[in-house]
Symmetry: C2
Subunit: 429 residues, 2 copies
């Protein structure tokens, strides 16, 4: 099998990774002042290059699929890895969509004049060099590269070993687009080795050249990044999202929202994992909701009060409340009002997205106010926790940390800012 996996001594790898960091820093200096038009041209050309290189990308993907099959990868994972005509077109279209977004760089975020005449403006600027470590679908190579390009950042991508050939083929198309617009190829670099030591080097910041690391992947990847990183991390942790059906809920609305929140797509971070429902409506509301979920193919794991009302539910264990299933399973608990629901979520949640279903506006405000999650919702499916659905265009994920950016991370969230202070000779007394 033809492979691009390169293993080498730490010394040589270190030198190559360090050179990537330097190249990224150099590219970032040019990207910082690149015009919107140039960046958009690069993205449009990259989209065309992806279409033009479809056969090479499919061939590379076939090699990844073959290797995955021989390693016994699950069919769900194989499906994530697989590219076809439709997915390649979607990837190209994704780049064009990002080109169509407003340029976040240079936007005046605030401006005011001090009594002494100082004119102070806060203006959005690129962050610089972003390292993205991911392990999921090969299209992340294109999406993440394009989001960083649009926001004026150079990016060093480190994809998963299972998609290495696909990622390289996609990356080659991106570079073709970038260069045709006159931007440096180093604006989007892909780490050319699957050696895990390369990740460690990125986490150490490649000699001070990396400004931020974004991990995209499972719990163990994010945990490693958080433990080892010596540079700021924009973390995308798990989404243990809750839907809470309050005593004041409209039953039909609750049924539609809960089944959508859980079952529309079970593998996304905004999928509801736990259903909370008020005790006083358990007799009337619980069975119809759980029956809808069952019919949609969802396994129900409830506390003993739930099992009493809905005997076909399995008994949940403590682990269930901590679980991000990303699957057709839901944990269900009966609670005693808003405070009790908030307490459960504060104890077991991951501060991602939670929703209250109720017609009682006061209860809704109480719930939304009390929770410290990135996104709190009222009468909406938690599956709306998405940059596109927020009107922010494409996103790199949902930030679950509290600093810099929470919630959907799109092009605006990939910028920082600087202050421009204009005076006329003022000295400070």
């Amino acid at each position: 099998m033809n492979t691009v996996v390169i293993k080498e001594s730490q010394g040589t790898l270190g030198a190559r990774m360090s050179a990537m960091g330097d190249a990224a820093r150099g590219a970032a200096a040019g990207l910082r002042t690149a015009s919107t038009d140039t960046k958009n041209k690069a993205l449009a050309a990259a989209a065309q290059a992806i279409r033009g290189r479809k056969e090479q990308i499919l061939a590379a993907n076939a090699r990844d699929m073959e290797a995955a099959a021989s390693r016994g990868m699950t069919s769900a994972m194989m499906d994530r890895l697989k590219l076809d005509d439709g997915r390649i077109e979607a990837m190209a279209k994704g780049l064009e969509d990002i080109a169509a977004l407003p340029d976040p760089v240079g936007k005046e975020l605030a401006r005011w004049t001090q009594p002494n005449g100082l004119d102070i403006a806060r203006v959005a600027t690129p962050i610089g060099v972003i390292g993205i470590i991911y392990e999921s679908r090969p299209n992340v190579t294109a999406d993440a590269g394009a989001l960083c390009m649009k926001s004026g950042n150079a990016v060093i991508l480190r994809g998963g070993s299972e998609s290495v050939h696909s990622s390289h083929a996609i990356h080659a198309a991106l570079v073709e687009g970038i260069e045709s617009a006159g931007l440096p190829a180093a604006a989007i670099q892909l780490v050319p080795t699957t050696d895990r030591a390369a990740v460690g080097m990125m986490l150490e910041g490649l000699g001070g050249t990396v400004d931020m690391i974004i991990p995209r992947g499972g719990k163990s990847l994010v945990a490693r990044v958080q433990a080892e990183a010596r540079v700021p991390v924009l973390a995308h942790l798990e989404g243990i999202c809750h839907s809470y059906v309050h005593a004041g809920a409209d039953l039909e609305k609750a049924r539609a929202i809960v089944v959508n929140a859980k079952m529309r797509r079970t593998g996304i971070c905004g999928a509801t994992e736990t259903l909370l429902i008020d005790r006083c409506i358990a007799e009337t509301h619980l069975a119809p909701i759980l029956s809808d979920l069952s019919k949609a193919g969802c396994e129900i794991r409830g506390d003993k009060d739930v099992v009493a009302v809905y005997p076909s539910a399995q008994l949940a264990t403590e682990d269930d409340w901590h679980s991000e299933y990303l699957d057709s399973i839901i944990s269900v608990r009966i609670v005693d009002g808003v405070d009790d629901a908030v307490r459960h979520i504060a104890t077991y949640g991951s501060q991602h997205t939670e929703c209250i279903v109720t017609e009682d506006k006061e209860a809704a405000e109480q719930f939304m106010d009390a929770l410290d999650s990135a996104i709190v919702m009222h009468n909406v499916s938690t599956q709306f926790a998405d940059g596109g659905e927020f009107g922010m265009g494409a996103e790199i994920g949902i930030g679950t940390g509290k600093l810099h950016a929470r919630g959907p991370v799109g092009v605006e969230q990939l910028t920082t800012f600087k202050y421009l202070v204009r005076g006329s000779g003022q000295t400070r007394p």
Copy 2:
């Protein structure tokens, strides 16, 4: 000598630090929803308690001064440590000034409606638990505690060992104020030991209870924090600030700005450390500017071109360009236009604050656009790099990192945000 320094086994210290983290987390939950009025009452009462406990605070400070003298502390350091009636009143007044600031919590930062009717609002919320590690003046105890209180965060303060008695006396006053307003004492905690192991525990996050660490102090403290922290750090690194006198500068403006930027106060991070001046005006502008600086008591260290024009200057070494003197010393270099000045700053600067002095607006915009510093100025003294001077009220420092907050960190910068999404039963297609 009566001492509050407690040394104990790691196990016991670990248990106590961990209990502080839990207490802070508990207090943060209450502070998050505390009213503006309650927080302001606590701050006003704390100001009164500081005034009322003046004698105890002065006595505690005398013990610190005595210990410092016996350890042979420099007189500059002794001056930083010393409290007197005026400084205690200034500290109390500082708390009242923070009470008078607008409450940043709950502020609607953005709000829009999606085509499907979703009403999305981004609202400022407290971060949670902030750990502040400092080594400077004892008044940081009051300032940092008050800024966190106003922004709804619980704080764990770890002051320097040299000011331990003063900090404890000030902290006791803060707690008196907090409790009188009905807020939990754990809203502002002071680590009761000078054991350096306690810092390590804070940097590890006290069992997931600390959301952010802010180091305030010298280079070695910040370096230790950045190397060891397992939680996000809002770094306040050194300020190697530059004033650049461009060919188009007005000489009188340049003289006034440069002498103020360097000499108004040499010990603050916004003080200019390096002067750059265009070659074509060196003959006319350099001598008057350097002569002003000399007369003000500043030592001049120039490159060989500077020494040629101004022979009383010492010859600068490579180290000088990297130095944050925080003293009456300036390094001076002759450059060849805006690009060369930008290149010098990008190589040696710390991305804090830089200023161009010129009447040429185009050159000013070019300079401000090209630099990637937190604050870029035109015709202003760099000493204006200050939260108060920006109209933001008190600040905890000037952030030099790129994430979350750059530039002055005041109460607004000590908040994060969450999204409130209000719907009417929408499910995602």
